[in-house]
Symmetry: C2
Subunit: 525 residues, 2 copies
Amino acid sequence: MKTNAEELFKEFREHSVSEFFRKNAAMLGYTGKIRSLTTIIHEGVTNAIDAAEEAGVLPKIFVAIKRVKEESEHFKVVIEDNASGIPEEYIPNVFGKMLAGTKLHRHMQSRGQQGIGVSGSVMFGQITSGRPATVITSTGNGEIIRADVMIDVDRNEGKVMNAEKLEGKWRGTRVEVEVKDVTYMRSRYGPFNYLRMTAIANPHVHITFVEPDGTLTILEHATDEVPERPKPMPLHPWGIMSDDLLVLAKHTKGRTVTSFLSTELSRVSKRKAEEVLKLSEVNANKKPAKLTWEEAEHIVSAFKQVKLMAPPTAGLRPIGAADIENGLRQILRPEFTYAVTRPPKVYRGGLPFIVEAGIAYGGGAGKTVEGKGEGEEIEAEAGMELLRFANRAPLIFDQGGCAITSAARNIEWRRYGVDVSTAPLTLFVNVVSAYVPYTSAGKQSIAEEPEIFDEIRSTIMDVARELKRFLNQKIRIKERHERAGVFEQYLPVIARKAASLAGTKQPDIKPLLKKVTGDKHDEES
Amino acid sequence: MKTNAEELFKEFREHSVSEFFRKNAAMLGYTGKIRSLTTIIHEGVTNAIDAAEEAGVLPKIFVAIKRVKEESEHFKVVIEDNASGIPEEYIPNVFGKMLAGTKLHRHMQSRGQQGIGVSGSVMFGQITSGRPATVITSTGNGEIIRADVMIDVDRNEGKVMNAEKLEGKWRGTRVEVEVKDVTYMRSRYGPFNYLRMTAIANPHVHITFVEPDGTLTILEHATDEVPERPKPMPLHPWGIMSDDLLVLAKHTKGRTVTSFLSTELSRVSKRKAEEVLKLSEVNANKKPAKLTWEEAEHIVSAFKQVKLMAPPTAGLRPIGAADIENGLRQILRPEFTYAVTRPPKVYRGGLPFIVEAGIAYGGGAGKTVEGKGEGEEIEAEAGMELLRFANRAPLIFDQGGCAITSAARNIEWRRYGVDVSTAPLTLFVNVVSAYVPYTSAGKQSIAEEPEIFDEIRSTIMDVARELKRFLNQKIRIKERHERAGVFEQYLPVIARKAASLAGTKQPDIKPLLKKVTGDKHDEES
């Protein structure tokens, strides 16, 4: 039976982005009872840290997960920060509208990027428990606002209910979300481990955590230094695409192409812009909005022929090798640890990124047996432990499709003297960028952009080489010990016999022994 | 330096869904040069097959990938179907607006679901090549429309340019997208293998494919049977969530809760609805729109206490065990093949799904060395080959995070006599549902919903048991052969010696030999 087009297209409809993500909650990380709860913690905590850093204060985060009405899979999640607070008029859009926020349009390193995270938590709470989220916030003006927020899914709009104003001198934001169909577990994939990993990668963050059974854990900050505020960064011409250039040209305030290029792009002076326009045969006085695709393509390729300074990294804030080593030492107490933060590179779109990696060997490093939680058992996985981070935020799901995982697997570990299936090894990788190319809105996996993949691989190889040096030394020391053992045993006997044969006095063999075996005591110290 | 809220929130903006996916193209599968090209083929081909099936015709799909201007990474992709065509007024929205389409709001099994796919291809073409897509379509009314389409990213709107009308008797749609920064390869992840997998799972589809070097491949349809048109299916009460019920109640035409439940839900008669409302203590004459969350929760739990018929499966169209076995035999020529299509189950939201699996052993089954493409080399992976499908569409990326992969890994294959790292084994799994819970908009990976994970695991175990039976029989036959060898060698000698000792005539040992060894010739036939 044939059907005609008019009949079929009667069903054509438009949909709101909230409706889309309500039906596709799995894309935001709401899949499975353990992961869904961790996703709420992740969204709340990354937002809280971002907000505190943007406000220029040392982040102090309070997280609590409480059981509601003793029902087993019904929880209330509380996340509180000490950031700037949210002005009243923005509350509906911050918590109830998707694709709205302060970060998406700026090229800035932050944990959140998309203006979906917190609205996603509010929606997941709403569709599982039927309850609105409760927001308590103050900008520090003596007035505290308390309001309930729900999402109107059809319209992608926030609805505020029961708003009230209280008096009080406090600054910050507290969000309470009620959820059902989630499970609390102290496993690798649960909130506890998520917060522990956050603490490793963010030594300046102070986290207080209350578990459903009332256990209080304080993950203290290891430094009092307020991190620099992240800065929006203009795009750098290396690797920029024609389309990016045209989008910028459409919105620029520059009146000529010359002024457009030198104001909107990083490391492009007026003289550099003129040089590029000459090379690309584009009229320097043309209006930017009138640039054609072909001209944009010529400009993009001309940028590859001129000398430019490397992209600025003022806006990028890696953890730093010293702090990574400290973090690994504090948690794992390994025999050996080494970390490296490499210089910035760029990938598609001219966006700079930094990769840093740390390695820990021995002690508590490597995978250990997982804890049990609430009657469920988690099996330990064999092999090297890989800790993945993007802008210091832990990535704990979707490891399969992540560039960090595939780069780590791509290393020939045997060349570094390591059997990854048995070695007590923890590998830490953090990718830092104003714009991390996640594979999905759940932000748990970094796409395999070739430049990023290669850089991760090189960084891991840097730390692996140091590990090899350490392991070789370990082997040499062991061999010296063995050699020393042989000589210590036989040399005195030989010396005695030889002296007796020659009829001379027995010589002092200590200097010889030291020469042959090396001073193992010196080497060990 | 502290910063206050008013200053920070000056940067608060709203964004269009197109802008979001332009910046997050990786979420739609546009990541890497090989994958990006395969994604365009995937989106176009799934849409083409869906459209032909909806139009009630046997799908005939033409796919061509051409090199443009001899530039190495600049291609034109052509996909043509023989479906209903698209009425002129819908062209901008079909190709230029995201989250718009005929499928998202209906509970129906189709390959596409989200109203993003084709607009995503148009956008990817536009941001890499700067060129609009060209659409040629006719509803068969003698008028053929040819138009260029671009996306206005800021507004999430399609812009039609250079539209013209031609005369001609033809029905169907042809889309041409120009793309840069992609690579053509005949590897596992390339378009050729994608189309081959599509053919295995869709014996009714006829595919003609022209590769960039001009090679023409015809994947002929193996059946002339026009598949039944997919039907929208109401939700089934099993496992439905309170929020789903309230969303339905908001949009229903039913005037009372009784009529609402019995018209909007599947397998709910008027009497059944009354029984449920009595149990849940909800007023049967209440207006549906006035239902509270608590009442919805009571109704949901009451549905679990009454007897209901299983969900209807009229709308679900599995491939069927026989066709899966045929497909595997045709492509792999294995020693053994077995497939099973299990009865429908439901998962969250009351949505039915079917899992089917096939297994092939020996012959061409198992992973083989990959072909090379255009100077790049692909390494073969060791171990069992896993072919994943959702609604007959091949899933070839993101295998790591997919419920099919994790269910397959979760099987203790040794119990079935199989070493997955060496066995010549191909496992085929197809998940069929009106609504497949993908983990990302790239639709390459199925979320681990517990009911779906368990069902996939059980289905794989069904086929694995048959494989075990086959392998055991193979071992028994081998053992009998060995045993037969021993007896055939020594029994005549023993018989001769014994007869000579006893002074009797040598007995006929054939019946004895047959009894001891089993008739291996019978068993082999």
